[in-house]
């Protein structure tokens, strides 16, 4: 395979559109509202694979809002991405690791009992079966291989649910680089099993007690670490967020999910699904599932954010539903913030979705209407988790359970349709939370 996605075109017409777009994006970049965007032109650019553009933007979103100290490091990273993400030797090594170490391709499972219960044809893309138990490993092994080529002396990562931390620790052990993982103190408690795993895999876990003590604070601390050693340290960012080129790197490395699922669906059913559904925290598993389907206009795409306890400010982590445009942690996207531009604390029962921002490409896909995003509450996600356990013999991560909750809702309204669900990870890590919720009084 010559490219990771095999589908970046650059027709003359596309380039013309792109130039037009970059002018619009420069004008729109600093706005705190989205009035006056030409969504038809943005949609055409998406269909022509024009994003990210040369400014690292997805339409008005994205960009690179970082301290000056990190600019040369991001320039080097961008040069490395251009050089290696299409390089046959690099791709050979990456794909060999994906198949022999990660265990790809992951299975596509027909969910027979859920199909019967929900009245639709339900298929699961099983990222829970990937090594270390979630989709995060696709990104981590790719980035750590890149870090090695770029001559990094150490790797740092942030983690919420601990899955990206575990995946990065494992990838670093495999490749032979030291690894430091920043994790919020709140998350260390609710995802305790993953803390031990990271330590066993040789990583140093740095508890973060600043800010909200969850994923956002962990990203802030990782950025502070990187600012202190921009030359020797590689920052392995775990979701489709952050400054350019991270949202692009993460999409490219995660698109393996959607590419495999698309082929597997065609092989198993002869047709594409009617809808593909994934949960959205920063948005890496969702963009990985969606990206290879974006041009299949017959396939609806649905992202599920964390609806938490309800719709009030601070009660959820649904940035696409309730956010306003702004700049956080290196990129311009939709953010949960107050009128003064201060970032809101969020709530979700799932550590991996508990983040006040979202990847810039999702902000664009929502703006142009190519992907629809909804929220599933804590309670809906936990109910779905229990149902998937009983029906299919699979314990999904609480994050992934949000996708199941959304799928159930959609299936009931669209009987007989074919539904592809991104099962982003397994729920073993969630036992401390499940003991306090579903299993309360049971054990």
């Amino acid at each position: 395979m010559q490219s990771l996605s095999g589908q970046r075109g650059s027709s003359a017409a596309g380039l013309a559109l792109n130039n037009e777009q970059s002018t619009t994006s420069e004008r729109a970049e600093m706005r705190a509202d989205l009035k006056g965007l030409d969504t038809a032109a943005l949609m055409a650019n998406v269909m022509n694979d024009m994003y990210p553009d040369e400014h690292g933007r997805f339409g008005p979103f994205g960009g690179r809002y970082v301290p000056e100290t990190l600019v040369p490091a991001l320039d080097r990273l961008e040069a490395g991405v251009k050089r290696y993400l299409r390089d046959p030797d690099f791709l050979k090594e990456f794909h060999a690791e994906l198949s022999s170490w990660v265990g790809r391709p992951t299975a596509l499972t027909h969910a027979r009992e859920l199909s019967r219960r929900w009245g639709a044809d339900i298929w699961l893309k099983r990222e829970d079966l990937a090594h270390t138990g979630a989709h995060k490993i696709n990104n981590s092994i790719g980035q750590v291989l890149l870090a090695k080529r770029l001559g990094a002396k150490r790797v740092i990562a942030e983690t919420g649910a601990g899955q990206h931390g575990v995946a990065s620790a494992a990838a670093c052990a495999r490749v032979g680089l030291p690894c430091v993982v920043y994790m919020g103190a709140v998350d260390m408690e609710r995802q305790a099993p993953n803390v031990g795993r990271m330590k066993l895999l040789g990583a140093t876990v740095m508890p973060v007690t600043s800010g909200d003590k969850t994923l956002r604070a962990a990203v802030d601390e990782a950025l502070r670490d990187w600012v202190s050693d921009p030359n020797g340290t590689y920052y392995c960012l775990g979701s489709a967020i952050g400054p350019h080129p991270y949202p692009y790197i993460v999409r490219e490395l995660q698109s393996v999910i959607g590419r495999e699922a698309r082929e597997q669906m065609l092989k198993a059913t002869g047709v594409l699904p009617d809808i593909a559904i994934a949960c959205v925290g920063g948005g890496s598993n969702a963009i990985g599932l969606f990206h290879p389907f974006v041009k299949d206009r017959s396939v609806q795409l649905l992202g599920l954010e964390a609806g938490g306890l309800g719709t009030g400010l601070g009660q959820n982590a649904a940035s696409l539903a309730y956010g306003k445009p702004g700049v956080l942690q290196g990129c311009y996207s939709l953010l949960l913030q107050d009128d003064d531009g201060q970032i809101q604390e969020t709530h979700s029962v799932s550590a991996g979705l508990d983040y006040p921002g979202v990847g810039p490409e999702h902000a664009l896909l929502q703006t142009i209407g190519r992907v629809r995003y909804e929220a599933a509450t804590d309670a809906e996600a936990l109910d779905a988790l229990a149902e998937v356990c009983a029906a299919e013999g699979i314990l999904p991560a609480i994050e992934s359970s949000h996708a199941f909750a959304g799928a159930k809702r959609w299936a009931k309204q669209n009987p007989g349709k074919r539904v592809l669900i991104g099962l982003s990870g397994r729920g073993d890590k969630d036992m401390p939370t499940l003991q306090r919720t579903l299993l309360k009084g049971v054990l």
Binding site: E26, D220, R224, V327
Partner: protein, 257 residues
């Protein structure tokens, strides 16, 4: 004189007296909103330029001291609107030119259409925006230009030579030369390389150059002094205010007698 030129003029005037200018940083609304104005005047009397930090929930370029003062200021209800209103209400005006140091998001939320006028009216001479690299700054520069407010560029020890020259040319007010790779507030010893790096910045900068991050003591000021036009003192001053000590005495103590 345009507001932004008052900054260079104040630094050059201090430098002309044989001492590096003192650029003093204080978090807006800290240690509390009531005493902020009193401290501001004291600091503006003792320093040559004053930077006022607009508190933000996610100060990614800042160390623990400024994280702490930002959190306290936010908890006390400090906003950019309040800071501008407080500055605008001062009679007499603080004696030194004032810059706002703010992460981008509070400025975006205020609105780029209203911000330049509102800031100019409040007596602000310019902005330092640590998460707005030059490549993303076209709109901000265009917004500030008509009212003559400065957008100060930062340079760092890892800035490549060509970029260093470009940033020094693009800067307004002064060039903010970050002493080290890292966040604010550390205690840096200043090895010979740092002095050499400051000399490299000076050599290509048409504007005065001020060294900042980790400057806390008279010894450091004396060491940096000959290589630069000014020094920025931030976390150390915030800690003085935190301890309830006299900020003016601290700032005067930084200059050789």
């Amino acid at each position: 004189m345009l507001p932004r030129d008052t900054i260079s003029a104040a630094i050059n005037a201090a430098r002309a007296k044989g001492q590096p200018a003192i650029v003093a940083f204080m978090t807006g609304g800290f240690p509390d909103r009531i005493s902020f104005a009193k401290h501001l005047h004291a600091v503006a009397d003792a320093a040559d330029v004053v930077e006022i930090g607009v508190p933000f929930t996610d100060p990614m370029a800042d160390g623990t001291t400024i994280q702490r003062s930002s959190r306290a200021a936010l908890a006390a209800g400090t906003t950019l609107k309040w800071i501008l209103a407080e500055l605008g209400a001062q009679t007499p005006k603080p004696k030194a030119p004032i810059l706002l140091m703010s992460y981008l998001n509070p400025l975006l939320a205020f609105g780029l259409d209203e911000l330049p006028q509102a800031a100019a009216k409040a007596g602000v001479s310019g902005f330092i925006i640590p998460d707005l690299p030059f490549e993303e700054s076209a709109d901000m520069r265009a917004a500030l230009e008509p009212v003559g407010l400065a957008l100060v560029q930062l340079v760092t020890p890892v800035t490549p030579p060509e970029r260093l020259a470009m940033l020094c040319k693009a800067s307004q007010g002064f060039v903010y030369a970050v002493t080290m790779t890292g966040t604010t507030g550390k205690n840096v010893d200043l090895p010979e390389e740092v002095v050499e790096y400051m000399q490299r910045v000076k050599a290509v900068s048409p504007l005065p150059v001020c060294a900042g991050f980790g400057i806390r003591s008279r010894k450091q000021v004396e060491r940096m002094g000959p290589a630069v036009d000014g020094v920025v003192v931030g976390s150390a001053l915030v800690e003085v205010l935190e301890r309830g000590e006299d900020p003016a005495a601290f700032l005067r103590g930084l200059k050789a007698s």
